[in-house]
């Protein structure tokens, strides 16, 4: 399997992190366990460890982002790596340089890792396939396809609150059709053996044959969150919508907006999550977003630890590769 998975090296170690799909439960758990160790770094007076000293991480964001880009930047800096932030929209690409030429130039600057966000599905895979073998690529969101670090930080947050996944019922509410976050969450939840995964959305925002992803489909919010342990709200991806998928944001809120009253059918200790940015009064009521069951800001803090784990694991594997090739140390 490792031979065919472009994310893994010959020994099954993480080389790139492009998607949660096709990764073993053991590897996903290793990411969560490593993140647990990195969580403690935030408690230090000096919030930094020297693990990736001398490494260069380039944030390549072809699509806007605040949370993801800044938490990737903080994660790399807490590992003592140097960080380049390239705002591609205002840089060479807009002057006509091709993506591969931009890559070659960055490689010539001895960059060790690219963190890539792109509006096209498959962009991070493409870059991983064409990058120099000593470079690692992390997908920070590609089109509608995948957002694996968001998926894993959500798994990390769920595990910290609920422990084992086996008996959990997780309900994902909202724009499943356009959501790379939902896709990463669903594949990670299934790989980790979650008891039940549900998706809840209007018919126009659910992909055809959604059941094949390993979920139960609901079109009624109250019914869908009944007895759920975890309720994950998604942002309406208006920028990806073409055509009239929704009558109006107001009507969406009337039917699918999460309020305390609608949450009442979920388990009493259910947690509420959202990958951000929240549209208050569209996906959820402020009372829920700021309420006692909301773990939304915790997700942000956990995101730093999970991204530190993934960066360190990929960079650690790079060196492992050269070690095996060199066979100099006995």
């Amino acid at each position: 399997m490792s031979a065919t998975n472009p994310q893994l090296d010959g020994q099954g170690n993480l080389r790139h992190f492009l998607t949660t799909e096709g990764l073993s439960r053991a590897l996903l758990i290793e990411i969560l366990d490593q993140a647990e160790g990195f969580l403690g770094v935030a408690q230090q007076a000096v919030k930094k460890v020297p693990l990736c000293r001398g490494k260069v991480v380039a944030n390549l964001f072809f699509e806007t982002s605040t949370r993801t880009r800044t938490t990737f930047e903080l994660a790399a800096k807490r590992l003592s790596a140097d960080v380049l932030n390239l705002n591609i929209a205002t840089s060479a690409t807009s002057k006509g340089e091709t993506l591969l030429d931009t890559l070659r130039n960055l490689e010539a600057m001895h960059v060790d890792m690219f963190v890539v966000r792109h509006a096209s599905s498959g962009a991070a895979h493409f870059i991983a396939a064409h990058a120099n073998p000593h470079v690692s690529v992390i997908n920070a969101g590609d089109g509608r396809h995948s957002h694996p670090t968001q998926g894993m930080l959500d798994m990390f947050t769920i595990r910290r609150h609920k422990g084992d996944f086996a008996n959990l019922c997780v309900a994902i509410v909202g724009d499943i059709l356009h959501s790379r976050v939902a896709r990463s969450q669903i594949s990670a939840l299934n790989a980790l053996g979650a008891g039940e995964v549900r998706v809840i959305a209007p018919r126009t925002l659910i992909p055809a044959q959604a059941e094949s992803l390993g979920v139960r489909v609901y079109h009624d919010l109250r019914e869908g969150v009944r007895d759920a342990d975890v309720v994950i709200m998604l942002r309406l991806q208006r920028e990806r919508m073409s055509g009239a998928l929704l009558p109006s944001a107001h009507e969406y809120y009337q039917l699918f907006g999460l309020t305390e009253e609608r949450l009442s059918t979920a388990k009493p200790d259910a947690i509420v999550m959202h990958p951000g940015p929240i549209n208050r009064g569209v996906e959820m009521d402020s009372q829920v977003a700021d309420g006692p069951r909301s773990v939304i800001l915790e997700q942000v803090s956990n995101g730093i630890a999970v991204r530190m784990a993934v960066i360190a694991m990929c960079i650690g594997t790079q060196n492992l590769g050269s070690q095996v090739a060199g066979e100099t140390d006995v």
Binding site: N13, E30, D33, Q34, E36, G37, F38, L39, G40, V41, Q44, A45, V46, K48, V49, P50, L51, C52, A312, M313, G316, T317, N319, L320, Q323, D329, V330
Partner: protein, 208 residues
């Protein structure tokens, strides 16, 4: 201070990589009791009470738990994982098992007793000191190790030692435990031998 027991392990079985007991549980109990006496004397002599005790994962924590009880220290024991401060990350990648460091009491301006199981190269202690200084500026640090052997690669020496061993470069001792604790010795497995004589990761000396 009492003289730690020095011994050279019997080398007749040294060709086996299978671990053999070097010190059994009762010898370790006696060594830890001597260490507690030495630490008590040193704390008094240096006027560093109340000192804060910190064990290095994982064998160092087992030893520190015993010493912490014998010394009757009021403040909770701290634990350190040095995985993020190792100097061989660029050679061998992430340590598979990282336990969070827990320092329940701030180290700033405090006298510390750092405890580890086996001191060999000194690289673990170098890393542990770096971790501590990222939590604050201690007033002083003394080092107590259950066992000390040859093979130092850094200018680091313990203040309190339970047992001393002189071993061949091919040999290692490591602490098995936590209950009962025994020190076992074996040949360093050839394929997993680390660069520059570093002790392999395991119970005894987590890779720095």
């Amino acid at each position: 201070m009492t003289n730690p027991q020095t011994s050279t392990p019997d080398t007749t079985k040294a060709h086996s990589t299978a671990p053999a007991t070097w010190k059994d549980a009762s010898e370790i109990d006696a060594a830890i009791a001597r260490m507690a006496d030495d630490l008590t004397a040193m704390i008094r002599e240096r006027g560093i009470a109340p000192a804060l005790m910190i064990g290095i994962h994982s064998g160092g924590v087992w030893v520190a738990e015993r010493l912490h009880a014998l010394l009757g220290l009021a403040e909770p024991l701290g634990t350190l994982d040095i995985s993020f401060y190792r100097d061989d990350f660029t050679r061998i990648g992430m340590h598979p098992q990282v336990r969070p460091s827990r320092l329940p009491v701030a180290v700033e301006d405090r006298h510390l007793i750092l405890v580890d199981d086996v001191l060999q190269t000194g690289r673990t202690i170098r890393a542990a000191l770096n971790v501590l200084f990222d939590y604050g500026r201690p007033k002083s640090v003394i080092l107590a190790t259950l066992a000390e052997r040859d093979g130092r690669q850094l200018p680091i020496e313990p203040n309190v030692v339970g047992l001393r061993a002189r071993l061949g470069p091919e040999e290692q001792i490591k602490l098995a435990g936590p209950e009962p604790m025994t020190l076992v010795r074996a040949l360093v497995p050839k394929r997993r031998r680390r660069p520059e004589g570093e002790a392999p990761s395991g119970a005894a000396e987590p890779a720095p």
